[in-house]
């Protein structure tokens, strides 16, 4: 009995940690969708680039972990903003399907570029020792990393919400989700706000990528594909367009996977499928997701 509740707490910590990573990546999907109505399929690959930049920062430049993370964040934001500027911005008035196809193209481009230059073999990610330090509290065993991941995620979430609700830039992002023309009438360059969204989303994806690399200590060019799809599922489950929803969706999928692996080990081979089962159920029964925004009804 005691063992059971210990096991339970243990798995909750794991779920929280995994959910945090999905949440960090899902926020980028949901924010870009909010301002452009685009499922940015390259977002998972931006995360991959972030993880690689962290890897290079430490393995090549010899930077400490925190500095390498900073490099990853800056590099990924710039890359995110650049994809918007060169690939999406020229298509602002094009049909949405062109935008979507472009996103898939960027995704393939990033994956294959990294494959050509760095090869497909996973490279070991140098996790700093203090992150791997094991703590044992009354039988519950967890690493420092599994504690830091959710704490940093919640902190970042607080910052994002503060930006969205308390700063003029955040208000413009929310306004843009409903009415682009009127945002321009405020003397605001909507394109700059969209760029900001790409920058913010990509920065969070980079942190998610680094956390992923810390947990499964390796990086490889295709790592963004499955994680990206699951984070996308998380964004839809939570309600695409809603940042709070993306976080809730991320945690739901993270916890589901952990619970399946821990308590239904015979189904653990299917763990990657659960995110998509949830996605299909949500699309069937509540397409706007848990905290979803009905853009069709509320957009002018």
């Amino acid at each position: 009995m005691l063992m059971d509740s210990l096991e339970f707490i243990q798995q909750m910590i794991n779920g929280f940690s995994l959910g945090s990573m999905y949440a960090l990546i899902a926020i980028g999907y949901t924010m870009v969708y909010g301002v452009l109505r685009l499922i940015n399929f390259a977002h998972g690959d931006i995360m991959m680039v972030g993880a690689f930049l962290g890897y290079f920062g430490m393995a090549v430049l010899g930077l400490p972990f925190v500095a390498a993370t900073f490099l990853a964040v800056v590099g990924s934001s710039l890359l995110g903003m650049l994809t918007d500027k060169i690939a999406y911005k020229p298509l602002r008035n094009a049909p949405k399907i062109s935008l979507l196809i472009t996103a898939i193209g960027i995704s393939f481009f990033l994956e294959n570029t990294f494959n050509v230059f760095f090869g497909g073999t996973p490279r070991p990610f140098n996790v700093p020792e203090y992150m791997e330090y094991i703590i044992n509290v009354g039988g519950i065993i967890f690493s420092v990393a599994s504690l830091i991941v959710p704490i940093v995620t919640l902190l970042l979430l607080a910052i994002i919400l503060w930006v969205l609700y308390k700063t003029k830039y955040g208000m413009a992002i929310r306004a843009l989700a409903f009415d682009v023309n009127t945002v321009n009438l405020m003397g605001i360059d909507a394109n700059r706000i969209i760029m900001l969204v790409f920058g913010m989303g990509s920065a969070l994806a980079a942190i998610g990528g680094i956390f992923w690399a810390v947990n499964y200590p390796s990086v490889e060019p295709m790592m963004g594909v499955l994680i990206g799809l699951k984070a996308f599922a998380a964004a839809v489950v939570g309600g695409i367009g809603s940042v709070g929803g993306a976080v809730i969706g991320g945690f739901i999928i993270g916890f589901t996977e952990v619970v399946v692996v821990a308590f239904l080990p015979e189904y653990s081979g299917y763990k990657d499928a659960f995110a998509f089962v949830l996605l299909i159920l949500v699309l069937l029964f509540k397409p706007t997701g848990i905290l979803g925004i009905n853009f069709d009804k509320s957009r002018f």
Binding site: K168, M171, A175, S298
Partner: protein, 231 residues
């Protein structure tokens, strides 16, 4: 203040505005009246370069041709769009903040001034703008447009869908704004209220200006009475 020469507006092959000339002098209220589809909204959008147009628009001495909508707003244009278009998912106060996006240093002062101008919206300042009544949304849209301290305020059918009492309230405020020195270009289907407060008026029909004159005289004009003032 603003001078427009030979303005045309096109939507694909449709020509919605067919070569009009007009001007608005500093400190005046000029109204542009006309019925549905006359080209009033298209004209305002052309002034802000948000539709495809040809012709010359000169704003306090410079040609606006190469400017984007948002830079023109930064330079002193402000539009209260048709149908108000408040940001329904933002609070009343945040709507005002958006209006002052490029006017941070005066935000607090202007906000208080707007609450004084429209005490009704002050009561609801923390409510989502989507929950306001039509009249309140119109007041909010006007306040929001004033937050950038425009040189030229353009209003597109501010009376649309409002009860007569509220229309009176809104137009009293517009008259008050003129007294404070704001230049106003007013677009209206409701010719009577527009002519009553404006100094000069243009009548637009099928994309062409068919009549113009001092507003006071136009109210007395038989043709105007028949066509736009209901007899």
């Amino acid at each position: 203040m603003i001078r427009v020469n030979n303005l045309h507006v096109y939507y694909g092959l449709i020509e919605a505005v067919k070569g009009i000339d007009f001007k608005v002098q500093e400190g005046q209220i000029v109204s542009l009246i006309g019925s549905n589809g006359a080209g009033k909204t298209s004209t305002l959008e052309a002034l802000l370069n948000s539709v495809k147009k040809t012709g010359e628009v000169n704003f306090s001495g410079y040609d606006t041709i190469n400017h984007k909508t948002h830079t023109l707003v930064q330079r002193g244009f402000s539009l209260v769009p048709e149908g108000r278009r408040v940001f329904i998912n933002l609070t009343v106060e945040d709507n005002l903040r958006m209006g002052a996006f490029n006017n941070d240093e005066n935000y607090e002062r202007l906000k208080d001034a707007m609450y004084e101008l429209f005490p009704r919206i002050k009561e609801k300042r923390l409510q989502m703008a989507g929950t306001l009544s039509g009249g309140e949304q119109q007041m909010l849209a006007i306040s929001r447009a004033l937050m950038s301290e425009p040189k030229l305020l353009m209003l597109d059918e501010p009376s649309l869908g409002l009860a007569p009492k509220i229309v009176g309230e809104v137009f009293e405020t517009i008259a008050k704004l003129k007294k404070e020195g704001i230049t106003i270009l007013l677009v209206e289907q409701n010719a009577f209220v527009a002519l009553k407060i404006s100094d000069y008026a243009y009548v637009l029909e099928n994309g062409k200006i068919v009549m113009q004159g001092v507003s006071k005289d136009m109210i007395g004009n038989d043709e105007i009475r028949k066509k736009y003032l209901g007899g």
